[in-house]
């Protein structure tokens, strides 16, 4: 319902302006309407005298470059994401596959003097001892421990030949050797067989014994 005739108000800009001027004349308090206004030149002169930082326009009316602000914020966010991504890639935990950081080269042949120095510090092993030499940078000293338990088995077989009876004595002995690595604590055990076959002529008067050859 439009009880009042408002037609013809917006025929052109002049009508709109007259409507607005009349509206604001009624809106403005009468006390303020009575105040006198200054000229543009005087206003400009007075405006320039104001402090530079606060030229009299409050923050709300001083247009901030919102587009630049948003662009800066967007760039800042992108930089932050980039930094986070790079740091994530850099400090990512290494895979289970070991990666050699240094190029693999052939071990240099040590001069004789160096070898002598190494042998000087190494233990002198007995002839029966077993030594395991590590080819890497660190030499691992192996401590051989010989198990004294020797298992022997003797087999005697008699043969009747033209020259008379001959006894074949087959002696088999097993020597157990265990080598221990002191750093890792691992043991390497091995058994060394020793086979001895003797052919001894047997006197017809008596049977040969094992220790006959020793004159017992």
């Amino acid at each position: 319902m439009k009880p009042f005739d408002t037609s013809g108000m917006l025929e052109n800009d002049e009508e709109l302006e007259s409507v607005l001027r009349e509206y604001f004349q009624q809106e403005m308090p009468p006390e303020l309407l009575e105040l006198s206004d200054i000229s543009d030149e005087e206003y400009e002169k007075r405006f320039q005298e104001l402090p530079a930082l606060t030229n009299g326009v409050p923050d709300t009316f001083d247009r901030k470059p919102s587009r630049q602000y948003k662009t800066g914020l967007l760039l800042l966010g992108l930089c932050a994401c980039l930094i986070v991504g790079i740091s994530f890639i850099q400090f990512q935990p290494a895979d289970q596959i070991p990666v050699a950081k240094q190029p693999i080269t052939q071990p240099e042949s040590l001069p004789p003097t160096v070898k002598n120095e190494i042998s000087r510090h190494s233990h002198i092993l007995e002839s029966e001892s077993l030594a395991v030499v590590d080819q890497g940078d660190t030499s691992i000293e192996m401590t051989p421990q010989i198990d004294k338990s020797v298992h022997e088995s003797i087999d005697i077989t008699l043969y009747n030949t033209e020259l008379g009876p001959i006894e074949q004595r087959t002696e088999l002995s097993w020597t157990n050797i265990s080598v221990q690595n002191p750093k890792t604590g691992t043991n390497v055990e091995m058994s060394m067989p020793e086979l001895t076959i003797d052919f001894v002529p047997v006197n017809s008067g008596r049977l040969s014994l094992i220790n006959d050859e020793n004159g017992e």
Partner: protein, 176 residues
């Protein structure tokens, strides 16, 4: 504060009010679209200015505007929780005026006010400075720190948007 200094301070405040009052009211009106509220904010800011130290304020105009704007914001917050007066109280006419004429004028002003409230504060700002204070484009460009052509462009766009809003509330050249 010595008496002489206080007297000078009061005289300076009065001069600022006489010189800047209309402009500050217009800027405040552009924010709240309420004449009485903008005027209350203006009065409140100058009352507070009276109790301030003389040397603590370098730019009185900017100080008054800031204080008045804060008062408007506080008022808006209070309005959300306080009882509001009935609208008809604002439309009571005086005894010496024609009731029908006043009613018609109030109806039109109410629609214009409603349309202005739909605009952005930037559009209201240039419309108030131009049509309430009668400022030229040059003076507006000084106050708003922009060029004259930009002011003319903003004015043109604001007028166009206002026309669109006025048409929505039934005010156009074809309305009966």
């Amino acid at each position: 504060m010595p008496e002489k200094q206080a007297h000078e301070w009061s005289a300076e405040i009065e001069a600022v009010y006489l010189r800047e009052g209309r402009e500050i009211w217009a800027l405040l009106y552009a924010q709240c679209s309420d004449s009485d509220r903008a005027y209350d904010a203006l009065q409140e800011a100058f009352v507070r200015l009276q109790s301030q130290e003389v040397k603590s304020i370098r730019n009185i105009r900017a100080w008054v505007l800031t204080v008045a704007q804060n008062w408007l914001r506080d008022f808006a917050r209070r309005q959300n929780h306080a009882a509001r007066p009935a609208d008809f109280l604002d439309n009571i006419v005086g005894q010496n005026s024609d009731p029908l004429e006043d009613l018609e004028k109030n109806e039109r002003n109410s629609r214009v006010r409603q349309s202005l409230r739909q605009l952005r504060a930037e559009d209201r700002e240039v419309l108030v400075l131009r049509y309430a204070l009668g400022w030229s484009s040059k003076r507006m460009s000084i106050a708003l720190n922009t060029s004259t052509s930009a002011i003319d462009m903003r004015l043109s766009r604001a007028r166009k948007r206002l026309c669109e809003e006025l048409e929505k509330v039934g005010i156009d050249h074809e309305t009966v």
